[in-house]
Symmetry: C2
Subunit: 467 residues, 2 copies
């Protein structure tokens, strides 16, 4: 119920130009009201010291609360909640191009939320210093709230999720963005989370693990390796864009790009079927890992966690540990002066829509080390050997540390030329503008999480606004 409607009815503009303009101002503000330059790292180091935190690999037999289901071999939690590790059989057009893989099934919809508020006329984001067991450096900068349904409905039996009320009780603020986004379709089955940005209307109580930062301050941190976590990056990709960032003209119209994605989704019958983890073809299990027989892709492992700052003080859990570092890149070109990105319509077995818009390049090079040049994925070698002078953005980021152990990728934005990446793009690829990518992000379930990370990084370096 919306109590505002009780009084005289006044229509409001359907598209509020306000937030986008204020977001641009926040992005341009490199000095926040609450944390002077240099103070961030001192605060972060202090948080790291305040919360002793230790992660150890353990055999599956030492998992507490988790067990291996007798009939399926699936890893499940005794509560029936959180998540399970199961098998997935993916088929394409009923033909031989399918595959089997372990997958994390987490059917709940969680909340990734950033609370924002104006200080001195500039929007600030309330960001959290949060430990997660899979992060290479454990502590990273996360959204205000990062909560599974189990978290905030107390299956965890731990402490309350701080600030959750701003996202579950909408009268506490004004919603700037609220959209369901997919996560890692190669590792999750049908996982998605609400990505929410709420502007607080009243005073917000302070907390030692949280600080208010402008978008400009966060942009600086996005240039560093492994500081801004995946959950923060995906929420940041959903901020409303300013009109200046939304180009009136592009190589393809919005309708053509929608049709391109629709056609890619309809072209193949991709079916992902849950199957028992036990006996999964191509995969083997020992005491402490479920791994691919040729050592590719990833392994499922178990870890014990000791921490002071999380909702509970210690636990054990399965994690997915990728083999090798990934490389994730958008190739870019200015077309008649307008920046464009080369997007890939990529199939992933765990995506609800089977195909989403992905970066140009998204591979683990180790998986292709012994593959002949002609059979290597398009543009991979270009990304691996890019002339540094053409690299517009480069940093290492890790994926969701609550589920993935040491899942690091080099994220790049690389300026290409016609000989490397023609405007007449190959089958499955299309040039689109950052504004068009943002349009798909606003819809939800159209842009994969790696492309959303690069979207946040593009915003952070002002790419698309300086042309």
């Amino acid at each position: 119920m919306s109590p505002k409607l009780a009084a005289a009815t006044v229509l409001r503009p359907r598209q509020d130009a306000g937030p986008a303009g204020r977001i641009a101002r926040s992005a341009a503000t490199a000095q926040g009201a609450h944390l002077a330059p240099g103070e961030f790292h001192a605060w972060f180091a202090q948080r790291r010291a305040a919360h002793p935190f230790r992660v150890d690999r353990i055999p599956f037999a030492e998992l507490e609360g988790w067990s291996t289901q007798r009939d399926t071999g699936n890893l499940v939690h005794r509560s029936g909640r959180f998540f399970s590790v199961e098998g997935l059989a993916v088929s394409v057009d009923g033909g031989p191009d399918g595959w089997h893989q372990p997958v994390i099934r987490q059917p709940e919809t969680g909340i990734l939320g950033i609370l924002v508020k104006e200080f001195d006329g500039v929007l600030h984001c309330l960001m959290q210093a949060k430990m997660e067991p899979g992060n290479p450096n454990l502590l990273q900068l996360s959204p205000t709230v990062q909560a599974t349904r189990s978290n905030y409905t107390k299956v965890h039996r731990g402490a309350d999720v701080k600030y959750i009320e701003y996202f579950t009780r909408p009268e506490r603020g004004a919603v700037l963005a609220d959209v369901l986004q997919s996560e890692h379709g190669s590792w999750f089955l049908h996982k998605h989370n609400r990505n929410v940005i709420v502007e607080a209307t009243g005073d917000v109580p302070p907390d030692d693990d949280f600080r208010w930062l402008t978008l400009g301050q966060i942009a600086e941190l996005l240039r560093l390796d492994n500081v801004v976590n995946m959950d923060a990056r995906t929420v940041l990709s959903c901020v409303p864009r300013t009109a200046a960032q939304s180009e009136p003209a592009a190589l393809h119209s919005d309708a053509e790009l929608r049709s391109w994605l629709t056609e890619a989704r309809a072209r193949h019958d991709v079916h992902a079927e849950r199957v028992p983890l036990a006996g999964l073809p191509g995969w083997a299990r020992d005491d402490s890992s479920i791994h691919h027989l040729e050592g590719r892709y990833f392994e499922v492992v178990a870890a014990s966690v000791q921490a002071g700052s999380r909702e509970v003080t210690g636990w054990t859990q399965p994690l997915i540990r990728p083999r090798g570092r990934g490389v994730v890149a958008f190739l870019t070109r200015r077309i008649n002066g307008v920046p464009h990105l080369l997007a890939h319509a990529r199939t992933e077995g765990g995506l609800r829509g089977t195909v989403e818009i992905a970066p140009t390049v998204m591979y683990t090079p180790d998986n292709y080390a012994d593959v002949a040049a002609a059979d290597r994925p398009p543009f991979l070698d270009l990304a691996l050997s890019a002339d540094p002078a053409r690299v517009r953005y480069e940093a290492t980021h890790s994926e969701e540390g609550g589920r993935f152990l040491d899942a690091q990728s080099r994220y790049l934005v690389i300026e290409a030329e016609e000989g490397q990446a023609p405007l007449d793009a190959p089958e499955g690829y299309r040039w689109l503008t950052p504004g068009q990518l943002s349009l798909f992000v606003q819809q939800g379930h159209c842009v994969n999480v790696q492309a959303r990370t690069l979207m946040a990084c593009l915003d952070a370096i002002g790419y698309g606004t300086d042309g």
Copy 2:
């Protein structure tokens, strides 16, 4: 590959204002270039006479090519294609509010396509007179193309699908709309189809079963009972709207409405699990039907079909036959002069997104005949007893006749007032404008098929453009 790009690069406007303006002109043109007033019905009667067509209920044992799977009791086709009838177990938040039902599983993505072309400066749609076994009057007006993947990849072993090349080979025309839309989440599991509108660039060969009609001519036919089929209605709901139809102000901003839908989708954990059709709780099977024990909802039946104008000349198939007629209605109000519709965020077990935007009312009254007033669905009685003076639109339409037997509903648009339908809408309901509904239709998988039918009807009666 896009051969147009080979020449000098020229950016194009992201949003082409052209199609929307031309669509408005076509909608305003009640006299077509090819079929004078009155000629439509003569042509339609002639088509009906040209194709003798007969449908008979048969026992399941007389189905040809279909069989009952021994271990599951599912009804399947020997090709493994087309569709199957299986069991579905729906659970909500793991609690007792779940249910079991038969469901049609048809994992393929088909194409519903309307080919358009300008004659005398006015867009015309190429519409087909098509027989379908479940239609109460057998022959209805359908899109140019209405094809499952099995149809056009020849699993059917029948004739080619006419005009399919305009939709599978994009160089044959310009795409005006192309979006995946859900169908009947109460009867289908995860079914969706591409809804496509393509403008032909060259001459289009004529065919006796097809005629070019303006949107204005189709609008007249939408006022009649059971003439324009569901497939045509859903594609028509996807036409780009004119700027005049897209209101700048509304009761809720677009961002608020997106958040409303996102929250509704995230609030409950709705899980639909395929289970064997045999032994489905609450349902029984005899020789010729699978029916609900209390005679509610629908039954699964079998039919034999003899026809001359379809891709093959005769076949047998299962059909879903609803019990009773449905009533589907949008309540409307003018708020500060701007038309608004009362939308319902409705859960259906077979929807991929679990919740889509539905009309205010969408029920089979017979299912509630013996339900106490306090427990009847919101607004149902208002729709059943509406003052005729307040009914802005009313006609009976049937659902997809290829799968549903005699599935008729009374579609209504009813002007309401504050005492009947307050602006401060109940939980799960929100007022939105026709332009906002169209925005969600353009995204795909947000607006259910019944609401899309009413959207096409609203367009046909000019509702939302005359204020």
